[in-house]
């Protein structure tokens, strides 16, 4: 155990890692995340029609994200545990404020304008949720008793409902997933899990009627995209054409016709995966998938080695949520699931999501690099 904690100083690489570890930097995570970021910038360059400005703006955001990540890595995990309720509470308050005075953008109330900064409190909640659940379950006997489960469900339910009425179904699902993963990793009884699944299945018809028209259309379109190829099915039809026409090796960077000629909507944001698949082909997609799987694997590895419940649950929940991001985005772009507004992590153009995700990885690195001996 101790050997893992104290890297052997005999090889140069170990020295390197050791030095970086002291700076609370995990080489694996930083390297993998940077690789995804670089690949994203290259595809973004193509997707935005060769716009250096857009690439540079995105590069700046990524740099900011990495700075945030490394900064957050310096903070010991215990501080996060202690601060979790405050952070969670603040996020809830902001969500309420959004509903009261938020800006409307694209038909939904998601943004809060603080004068100097416009941001989405729901993004904040993506971090606050797993922190809060992990902190709540920390120190309680696990697997959690029914009281704790109910309390956790309440913690998850409150902000989720605030987000879903914005309305932002995609983010709501991600927030619920983050809290849910923490609860699951905490050892939630299978009976609860099966029961919840049954309850959701039973509530689905009811939920259907609560959906907004555009949300319903997305589901219908998912079921049969060609039914309305120029309307709601257009996105998914065009993205499938882009992916399929890419083939095994792709058309080459900058040669994707679907994106460059504007057939593919949202080519540089939510649908950037289709551009990657069109231009770099299956090879490129598999390379990216490997990077993502490695990142999630590294995250889960860190979680397994977490010191206490809080660290394990938080690290695990963050890693799994990251995976869910990837899966939902790729799945929707490939037509495996309805279109929900989830960007491809660290790949899609847009600052908020990248910074949030990297902040999460900052906490992961904090957990990884602030380990102490159990018996000290």
């Amino acid at each position: 155990m101790s050997s893992a904690l104290t890297p052997t100083p005999h090889t140069p690489s170990a020295t390197w890692s050791e030095r970086l570890l002291k700076l609370h930097i995990d080489v694996w995570l930083v390297g993998l995340l940077a690789a995804v970021g670089c690949m994203g910038l290259a595809v973004l360059y193509s997707a935005s029609g060769g716009s250096a400005n857009e690439v540079f703006a995105q590069f700046q955001r990524l740099v900011l994200g990495f700075v945030v990540m490394i900064t957050l890595a310096q903070v010991p995990p215990d501080y996060y545990r202690a601060g979790a309720p405050w952070f969670y509470g603040a996020a809830c308050v902001l969500l309420v404020l959004v509903l009261v005075l938020g800006d409307h953008a694209k038909g939904a109330q998601r943004w809060l304008d603080l004068g100097v900064l416009r941001f989405q409190p729901s993004e904040m909640m993506k971090l606050a949720m797993p922190m809060m659940v992990a902190a709540w379950l920390h120190g309680r006997p696990l697997p959690p008793g029914w009281r704790d489960v109910l309390m956790t469900l309440a913690l998850i339910g409150l902000p989720s409902s605030l987000v879903v009425v914005q309305p932002d179904l995609g983010t709501c699902l991600l927030i619920m997933a983050a809290g849910g993963f923490a609860l699951y990793l905490g050892g939630l009884s299978w009976r609860w899990i099966v029961g919840a699944a049954a309850a959701i299945a039973a509530a689905a018809p009811l939920l259907w009627y609560r959906l907004h028209d555009y949300q319903r259309n997305r589901v219908l379109t998912f079921l049969d995209p060609e039914s309305d190829p120029l309307g709601t099915g257009y996105h998914i039809t065009q993205s499938k054409i882009a992916i399929g026409s890419g083939g095994a090796f792709g058309k080459g960077l900058l040669n994707g016709t679907q994106a460059k000629l504007d057939f593919l909507p949202e080519a540089h944001t939510d649908f950037i995966f289709a551009v990657l698949a069109e231009e770099l082909g299956m090879i490129g997609v598999l390379a990216l998938l490997c990077l993502y799987v490695a990142i999630v694997g590294r995250g889960l590895f860190i979680a397994m080695r977490g010191h206490d419940s809080f660290q394990r649950l938080l690290a695990g929940a963050l890693s799994l949520t990251f995976f869910i991001y990837v899966f939902i985005n790729m799945g929707m772009v490939m037509g495996l699931m309805p279109v929900v507004g989830v960007p491809l992590p660290l790949f899609s153009y847009g600052g908020t999501s990248a910074v949030t995700l990297l902040a999460g990885f900052g906490m992961l690195m904090s957990i990884h690099t602030h380990r102490k001996l159990l018996t000290s």
Binding site: L185, G187, G316
Partner: protein, 727 residues
Amino acid sequence: MVLDSFDALKDLYEEKRSFTRRIVMATLLCLLMVCLLIARLGDLQLLQHEYFSTRADDNRMRVVAMPPVRGLIYDRNGTLLAQNRPSFDLEVTRDQVDNLDALLATLAPVMNLTPGDLARFKDRARKTPRYRGVALKTNLTPAEVAAFEINRFAFKGVDIQAGLSRTYPLGAEASHLIGYVGGISEAEFSKLDERQYQGINLIGKLGIEKSHEEELRGTPGARIVEANAAGRPLRELEQRPGAPGRNLYLTLDAKLQQVAEAALGDLDGAVAAIDPQTGEVLALVSKPGFDPEPFVGGISNRQYRELLNDPGRPLYNRALQGTYPPGSTIKPFMSFAGLAFDEAGMDTHAFCSGTYYLPNTTRKYRCHKRSGHGTVDMRSAMARSCDVFFYQLAQGLGIDRINKALGNFGFGRATGIDIPHERNGLLPSREWKTRARKETWFPGETLNIGIGQGYWQVTPLQMAQATARLAMRGGGFEPHMVHAYEDPITGTVTGVTPTPLPPFDGERPKDFESVISTMESVMHEPGGTAYRVGRDAPYRIAGKTGTAQVAGLSQTEDDVPTLDSTPKHLRDHAWFMAFAPIDKPRIAIAVLAEHAGHGGSVAAPVARQVMDQYLLGKVIYATVTLPATLDAASGEDSTEFDGYVAPEERTTSTPVAAPRVAPPMITIPAQAPGAPKPAAAGDSPADAVEAPNPEAGFVAPAVAPPRTGDAGERAPPDDEHPEPPAP
């Protein structure tokens, strides 16, 4: 305490194990989901790659048509008959317009836009992408172009687009024949091969423009361009060259066409002239004509209705859509039938008392000459157009043999000329009557058929073609309009080889010569019904006049209605058919003048002028106004020929020495009372014109009014027929 901490440790250990199990399960689930993603990826990118590649290409590739230049149409001498002319259209590109309604409102007064223009524009706009121009007004005049140019600054998104339109220098003189092009209608569009019409807006609608659409149109070229999602072309990927349409050299002689058109004067009718040696159509006139050019830019409803409602029916091509009973012009063919079946010879005689009866019947079949021609043989019967001789001949032949012999000349079926909408006409037969009328054939009907009345329906083109076959002594070619095709790029000219017609069955050259010699008598022997027209011709003509009866006359009605007293639509049609020169025929012609009276006085002069023009290069024949009184000249003629006097001969100062080119001035004697009963031949008004009446009713031509079953028929007065009747 120790125990507590041990329990705590144990719990911690349990917690970690439970957590690890959960992580492992989650990892497995994640890997499963990754497999799902990869499977889907393989499905899209490997299995369905080809399909989606095609879809992607369909998305991005646009075919921009390069319409071919339509072929020109020339006459046989290289005179332009249809040409392309630069045209200017006013176009609006909606992409560049901020407020379309406001723009149209301000543009309307400047460019004189009509509500029709605006309606058509809105219609076109619906079918056109926004970034492409939509025509607002086509075929701008230079003045309109100028008016727009000075105001151009005020109309963003409006532009003048140069293109090619079509003009017809001959205008109404050859409108039926050449036809016109016009916008492609929905019905036409559904039938045509869309690839052949990429970028083409005009299609042949009538005449040569329609029948030779394929050659004239050419093949559109295309540029394959890459376009973005909005359809805007970004770069060219490929060019596929097309081919311009071929130029057509028609068999038509434009000068001849004009002479024929002018010769008809104010008459409604048709002239068809064919070169019998090749089947080339030299002139094909239908009057009245119409100006084809309004059709090119899209004729207005009002203009179109006017043409449709015009009582002269200018849109109707009389030369090959007009079907008329042939009247006496059928007699040469009847003679040929008689000779061919050995039913008659040149020496066959008949006695014409003015009336003919079928054995054991009382129904009168009258000769147009009531007093009778006396004894006639085949030559004099032809020259004087004696109906009784041909009643007798028809009776001898019977309907079946008549049908067979005359069918050889092409009656009863379209000639197959390369102009659309040709009618078949009708060659009566027993089978036809059984089929169409569900009635048996009556012997009396055969007699009417023998003089070109009854069920007969013949188009002027059919008559010209039958004449050409006679001229060629049974030979001849399919009538056609195209002499040669020219490739506009290489200049290569490809001639059209005439298609010879199958020879008759067992024809005898001497029979043709016999018939032709009788037709020569019509033109060149005094007393011939067209002697007045043929006598001064420097070439020998074989011809036959005809007067096709329109209205019937009752069996008992003895008075001949005068031309003037008869409503125009009931007056007789004037026919004439001829070919010349007799020994080496170069032109075969048929002339029909609707409701114009007698063939010899009205139709024959038209034909003579056309033949003059073609054979001599100028018209030396001239007609004069016919005075209503007799003069010496007519008397002279009448004594020469067996007491017979052609009416015109009697009433005209015939010889006109000075040749001049002039449209015929034909005046029908106005004061009927004095004119008619000429000293000649003692025909009394009473028997001057009476008509045969078949037992079973008689079919009048299409224009005839409805008749009752027992109404009689007025015999077709031929021209020889003296004249203008009493009021």
